[in-house]
Amino acid sequence: MRKPLTLRILSSLDKKSWLALGVFLALALVVIPVLHLNFPEDSALHVSTYAITLIGKIMCYALVAVAMDLIWGYGGILSLGHGLFFALGGYAFGMYLMRQIGRDGSYGADLPDFMVFLDWKELPWFWLGSDSFGWVAFLVMAVPALVAFVFGYFAFRSRIKGVYFSIMTQALTFAGMLLFFRNETGFGGNNGFTGFTRILGFDITAQSTRAALFFATVVLLVGSLYLGFRLARSKFGRVLTALRDAENRLMFCGYDPRGYKLFIWVLSAVLCGLAGALYVPQVGIINPSEMAPTQSIEAAVWVALGGRGTLIGPLLGAGLVNGMKSWFTVAFPEYWLFFLGALFIVVTLYLPRGLLGLLRKEKEQ
């Protein structure tokens, strides 16, 4: 069979060329905000605000995909509830952004607008300290970690796995969505948080702020990829892979799988929380629909499309699916769900190892 040209070129790359390609891509991502800042709108090299927001958003999703790959690709645990951790991180950081609005809200009060609207007189206890960036940065990681730890501890303790675990996580994020939809929960009900004005005192809509947020996302993405690769090559990663392939054998060898699972599960949740925290200031809104089961299960198809257990693949998958989504929902909104549904089926039926698996097969031949 004649291979497509792109496939042939990609499959002919060796390890060093792959590394070079990665560095080139990372550099390209760093260059985007620079272009955005330094070239006026009429210049050919200008990157529009829409583009930078879209790419920033997709990179946040890519971070979620990397986090999903850590537990699914290496640990063999499919979570259908990662949207919950993403949204928790987003909400935690959103609290800080809401407090930064100060008295610029439409009611001109010290409290966020939605609380004035509900006739609340003071901040609920869990908003305590939300005006401090440091504390909120801690919360962004601690809240998803805590929820993941408590859920994971009990789930892994009773050896819930496979589809049981997947559906339980889906139910978890569904319950979270219902909880955050309530006005009484104290997170703005179904409108969520929006209307942000400042971050760390800087104007959130300014070009330089956008560029800085974009840059931070690139750094975090590259950092978590590096962490993922180091973990995957360590002894921990090997035990995790063994766990995925034959949990019982591993137990008979004297390992206790619970600690391994719990660690990677919590780490993945923290990465999702960070992704959520970077997503909110760039997109400018967070609401409970981020916790909808559909969102989380879509993240699974990013990973499956790119290739599980490759870390780079999910990144690719997230970029591809979300890029197509932004195009499709504008061009043929009617057919997006057909396409996405078909993608789920085709990927599972014909691409069990994802796009990267396809490349590697080419290479092996």
């Binding site: 009990f154 589809v163 049981y164 559906i167 339980m168 319950a175 769900l337 549904g341 599972t348």
Partner: protein, 525 residues
């Protein structure tokens, strides 16, 4: 002055005639002033006389006229004297008194009250029932008189309540006390709201009556609470029945193939849309038999859903055996396609599926507890389907094969069970049952493209709690979860109920990872 004179003259004049009614009052019906008319109507009502019924009816029908000083009833070409009812000769140029809306309202309630004295017991019963919600203090003497005459026990009980309600405004504390005591025996929210003002010092000066009223409200409240909880438990039972129909199919496919079909909720949707299709078909071609569209929809929904199920199994699921997590994703993709297909075919809006005539209404157990027929029928239908499935699984050859594959696929294959075909059959059966669930669901909730989404998690919870491959487990878990969640919803709100049920299930799995009823065997994984 002139009026009094007229009345006096009339009085004198009527002395000679044989009179059943006070002619002065009858004359007042045609007075110029509305308030006087109202007073006359009320006084006539108090007499509870059949003649009063006759004259008030005539007034309501606009056949009452004033001829000179006499009030006459003109019926066609005959005329009768208003007070005595005797036939008289047609008066020249009779005048019609003004009957405005206020008077009409007054006449309507007067005639309704007078029906309490009708000779026909059914008319009396209807009137007494109607009166319950519109008792005014002025009716007290009338009701007392009706109560004396009444012999029917059921009507008597209603009259006692109405009389007690009218008596609550009595000036005599003893009468009020008796009234409150009589009302304490009821369990209706309207009577509770009638009693509430009496529990406060401003509304009731007498301490004794007030304490009695407080006790009465408490007693009514506790009875209301019982009725409310019974109602909740019943709607939980019907929810549980639908969950059961959803979970049965899921339990069978999970048991046989070890996969969770995320598109199972969409099979419910297929069933519901089949019902909608049958309804449209009957509306277009057999409008006379429209009430029978539902029984006709049952086999159609079963086969439509089973058909979709077979296509799903043959084209996608078959190729993913042993890869359970990927099956989850692929079937999710199928569900997205089905949802979007429903949107394209039937529109994104919900479609209207109406209950057939024989399913509307309900059984009134208590004033605030009505068990609707559609829910009762759904519970019965679910039990019927459950029975059929039980027979199929436990008494037929196919059922035996299904059980064999559930317990040990490799061994079943070795002894000649065609496992691949059993998989398809089991999947079709599960899908068909989900389709039946869709028929039931279409009768109590909206039919729209997204309707199946909410049921997959709940149905799966039933499978988790009940234990895999166990019909009995699924039954107990579905009914238990349905009732428990509805009761919790009543006490704590829908969201908290959902979350606490999830927490309960996680705790439950800690204790019994295999569900309530576990298959016994020695195997790992």
């Amino acid at each position: 002055m002139k009026k009094t004179l007229n009345a006096l003259l009339l009085c004198l004049g009527s002395l000679s005639a044989h009179a059943a009614l006070d002619p002065a009052q009858v004359r007042q019906l045609a007075a110029d002033d509305s308030s006087e008319k109202v007073a006359a109507i009320r006084q006539l009502t108090q007499t509870a006389d059949p003649d009063a019924v006759r004259i008030l009816k005539a007034m309501a029908d606009d056949s009452l006229f004033l001829a000179g000083d006499k009030v006459v009833i003109i019926d066609g070409d005959k005329a009768f004297d208003g007070a005595s009812g005797e036939a008289i000769k047609m008066p020249a140029n009779p005048e019609s008194p003004t009957v405005n809306n206020r008077i009409r309202g007054e006449l309507a309630s007067a005639l309704a009250a007078l029906k309490l004295f009708d000779a026909d017991a059914t008319v009396r019963l209807a009137s007494a029932q109607k009166l319950q919600s519109q008792v005014t203090p002025e009716m007290a003497p009338l009701l007392a008189r009706a109560l004396e005459k009444e012999s029917d026990a059921q009507i008597k009980a209603l009259l006692v309540l109405a009389h007690a309600q009218a008596n609550l405004a009595n000036t005599d504390p003893a009468a009020r006390l008796a009234a409150v005591k009589a009302l304490a025996e009821t369990s209706s929210p309207t009577i509770k709201s009638v009693l509430l003002p009496l529990t406060e010092k401003a509304g009731e000066p007498d301490d004794k009556v007030r304490y009695e009223a407080i006790a009465a409200v408490k007693a009514i409240d506790s009875r209301l609470a019982i009725a409310e909880n019974v109602g909740r438990a019943f709607s939980g039972l019907s929810l549980g029945s639908i969950l059961l129909l959803g979970a049965l199919g899921l339990a069978i496919t999970y048991g046989v193939m070890g996969i969770i079909n995320m598109a199972h909720g969409e099979l419910l949707m297929v069933g519901a849309y089949s019902t909608y299709g049958m309804q449209s078909l009957f509306r277009a071609y057999f409008p006379d038999a429209i009430d029978w569209y539902l029984p006709a929809a049952i086999p159609v929904a079963f086969f439509a859903a089973a058909m979709v199920g077979v296509i799903m199994e043959r084209t996608v699921i078959r190729w993913l055996y042993g890869r359970t997590l990927e099956t989850l994703l692929a079937t999710w993709g199928l569900s997205l396609i089905l949802i979007q297909a429903a949107r394209v075919l039937f529109g994104a809006q919900n479609v209207e599926v109406s209950n057939p005539g024989w399913m509307s209404g309900g059984i009134e157990v208590m004033p605030n507890l009505i068990l609707p027929w559609n829910r009762i029928i759904i519970v019965g239908f679910a039990m019927f389907v459950l029975f059929l499935v039980w027979v199929l699984i436990n008494k037929t050859r196919l059922g035996m094969f299904v059980r064999a594959v559930t317990q040990n696929r490799a061994m079943a294959g070795c002894v000649g069970v065609p496992t691949a075909r059993i998989d398809t059959m089991a999947f079709a059966l599960g899908a068909g049952i989900a389709g039946l669930g869709g028929v039931a669901l279409s009768q109590i909730s909206n039919v729209g493209p997204d309707m199946g989404q909410g049921y997959i998690v709940d149905s799966f919870m039933v499978v988790v709690v009940g234990g895999v491959g166990q019909l009995a487990g699924a039954v107990w878990a579905a009914l238990g979860l349905g009732i428990f969640s509805k009761l919790l919803e009543g006490w704590a709100g829908a969201v908290i109920a959902k979350i606490s049920i999830l927490v309960c299930i996680i705790i439950f799995i800690q204790k019994r990872p295999q569900g309530i009823f576990a298959l016994k065997g020695r195997f790992v994984e």
